[in-house]
Symmetry: C2
Subunit: 209 residues, 2 copies
């Protein structure tokens, strides 16, 4: 497939397509037209066709897309056909919630380790994992071929953790700390700023009145 | 202030401005120019001015913005000068993580209750709250003037919960379930689809190689 520069907006929509197609596949649906998908997802059919055309169009014929094919192709684009090995820094409630998120593993996201600086947590079990001390972070990342680090600690420690993991070659950070991370250009950061999200909701509620 | 239609993109950026201004205020900074703010936030100065012009410009003078004034004004726009009363449906790790998120209360987000259908969790303490059974949901929402419902349960139950809370007048849902909710037009939903976010990271990592 020829590589084009794909806009962030399109990329942001891919996981949602993938989610809907997975549900359709699980429900036994074999084909779907862009019109039906449009109605289901509340997106215009022309938007769907434009989005898919970024990736060669996925062979939409008069009778629609093959659901399983489309699901698998979008999965490949999302890099889900390769396993990703993750660690979580922060074994508080949020870190624990993230390890327990059940449907990651099916999609190739494997949680290999969880770390905390709190002596009381070190050695405790979180699911199948034992909480490890922060001084083992670098060796673990290198020894276990970790490719994604999840930062689930307060903002005070987050910048230092990001620096440490980037130094051992990590190129992807899933950041839940309430701060932006300054990382080199070749490192990707996906922020989940929960407070920002809640404030956005507050704004919409307030303006809605 | 005259009301204009503000784009979702601008709204999406407001909490980030608010976060940076809060940090500057806490650090004792009194004034900041759009140039300095631009450098700090890695956003162009013209973007900042355009964004702020949606709200009247906040009195940028030659010598810059008053940090505390700007912080407070953006807070007001975000509806943070009014208290919001929240409940969480789902007392699993994620629900517990959300109640413990420390910096909400300062901004007027008050967690009033947490609910679960799991008999083993009902009556247990989560922070200062006791987990309540699902059959008390409607009475609690009405009796405690709840205005935001947080859905932190798997997708199977989420749609039914959304229907129930909308029926008792809830106009804002913070949705962590891995599904989109169909709600009436006057109800705002802010989705935090963690799997979508992780897949986006996977995409960026994969394309980055």
């Amino acid at each position: 497939m020829e590589e084009k520069t794909i806009s962030q907006a399109v990329i942001g929509r891919l996981p949602r397509y993938y989610r809907y197609l997975g549900d359709l596949k699980d429900a036994g649906m074999e084909r779907i037209s862009s019109g039906e998908l449009s109605e289901l997802m509340s997106v215009t059919a022309s938007q769907i066709r434009q989005d898919f055309n970024n990736f060669g169009g996925f062979g939409q014929q008069g009778y629609g897309y093959n659901v399983e094919y489309l699901y698998n192709e979008i999965g490949k684009i999302l890099g889900l056909n390769e396993a990703h090995r993750l660690i979580i820094v922060g074994a508080g409630n949020l870190g624990r919630a993230l390890t327990n998120y059940s449907n990651y593993e099916n999609r190739g996201f494997i949680f290999e380790g969880i770390f905390d600086k709190d002596e009381d947590l070190i050695g405790k079990k979180v699911g199948d994992l034992k909480v490890l001390p922060m001084n083992e972070l670098e060796d673990f990342i290198i020894g276990h071929n970790i490719d994604i680090v999840v930062i689930a600690i307060p903002k005070t420690g987050a910048v230092e953790v990001a620096d440490r993991v980037v130094k051992c070659g990590i190129k992807a950070i899933w950041n839940f700390a309430h701060t932006d991370l300054n990382v080199p250009d070749d490192v990707v950061v996906e922020n989940v700023h929960l407070s920002d999200s809640l404030m956005k909701l507050s704004y919409m509620l307030y303006r809605n009145d």
